[in-house]
């Protein structure tokens, strides 16, 4: 299991157990977490899974994937250096304890 902490825009923290290989988006959706919509199911077509990777973790989550910049451009909230599409971050043992911040809105 890989622990991921989601910090909502209002500060509420939720820590979930994800499975290796699942994405940060899918882990949130399976638990019914508000704040990540994931309309396209992870095909990088919607930008409703936008998150900000906590500064302490951005090295380990790696760079954005091919095409991710273009889709982030459609995100509802501000895009920052730490912005990622959470469907493109796949959980690995190395990411145990990952912290992501959620935007004010996804739609």
């Amino acid at each position: 299991m890989v622990k991921v902490t989601y910090i909502a825009h209002d500060g509420t923290e939720t820590t979930l157990d994800g499975a290796e290989g699942d994405s940060v988006m899918a882990t949130a959706i399976s638990a019914g977490l508000d704040g990540i919509v994931g309309e396209c199911g992870g095909s990088m077509m919607c930008a409703t899974c936008h998150c900000y990777v906590d500064d302490a973790w951005s090295d380990r989550t790696g760079p954005r994937k091919d095409g991710e910049d273009d889709m982030l451009d459609c995100a509802a909230d501000d895009v920052k250096d730490t912005s990622r599409l959470s469907c493109q971050i796949k959980l690995t043992a190395e990411l145990d304890g990952l912290v992501v911040h959620l935007p004010s809105s996804q739609l």
Partner: protein
Amino acid sequence: MTLIEGHKPITPADGIPVWDVDPYDEAILANPDAYYAKLRELGPVVYIPRYSILAVGQYASAHKLFTNHENFISSRGVGLNDFALEEPWRPPSIILEVDPPDHTRTRRIMAKALSPKVVKSLADMFRAEAEIIVDDLLRESSFEAVTGLAERFPVTVFPKAVGMRDVHHRHLVDYGSCVFNAMGPDNALRRQALERNAIIGPWIMAACARDRLTDDGLGAMIYAEADAGTITEAEAAMLVRSFLSAGVDTTVTGIGNALWCLANNPAEWDRLRADITLARPAIEETLRFTSPVHTFGRTAARDTEIAGYPVEEGSKIICVLGAANSDPEKWGDPGTFRIDRRPLGHMAFGAGIHGCVGQNIARGEIEAILSVMAERVARIEPAGDAVWRPNNAIHALDQLPLKFIPN
């Protein structure tokens, strides 16, 4: 080696259930629920001797198949023919029928042209056309909804969005249906499709040429990439062709199926009218419930496995999206149409790197129709029997007589 349906015959691994069924039998295509149920019940992967293919119908194995693009590839065709062994029936799509890294390059271009932002910019045009059509239909005592609404709307708005100077309604709808029939076995549906395509195909290719497109549509966005040097002009034409293969008949089917669902579930229609924010979830539920694209395939790139069963290189595997979308393991009560289900993870648009690149525009089109209807149509009443039209990859209506009762 004698090929079966243009691919290598395989010997299924021990333990894989064998089912002598023809998934492309017209009766099954028209009414697939019992086939979906038995396919799921038999196991995560089933061998179908008639075509020497594997079939997956359980949600979990179907989703895994589509998200593992390294072992289960698209470049050897997403129908039954193996492009590595037999000449494809048309030059393969350079997005649907390719793998990374080729896919990554073209996908990015298409995803940009069909992004949520671009689709938002089309919303007013979609809405204006939807108003005209719905108002026309409200004046009829009854109407044929497949031609009168499900086809009429996309053939009006989609060529406008793409910026096509040449519009031939019948060719636009039928081209998609030919492409999808061609993904099946060498049956009557496929043979007729290939025959029809001899006429439609050249018209489509000509309509994709740069000088047949305006300079302000989606087509021009693709050709701009050729100017920027990311693709060649010939590749741009092929990507515009992908708009036309995949973007018309699919949305026609989505709209028709939505009308069918809502006509048959009047209480759900009432809920939608009462709360228009349910339009988006209602679209997802329609797609899950009816799976407009019912089946797409992959080829095993190497010796691999599905759910622990060995699968040999060159195996053709059909992913039965309709079965996955009605798997009770995943959905609980899949046979109930509930517009507020919010079926995240449904497979009507596929999954993984090939997941439908046109899904934003598809949603935008269906939403325009449903929103206008919700404001003006009190009841949608069947005015005769609905008839399904068998197709090797699409689950679409052939006839849907309806009556709109105004507010």
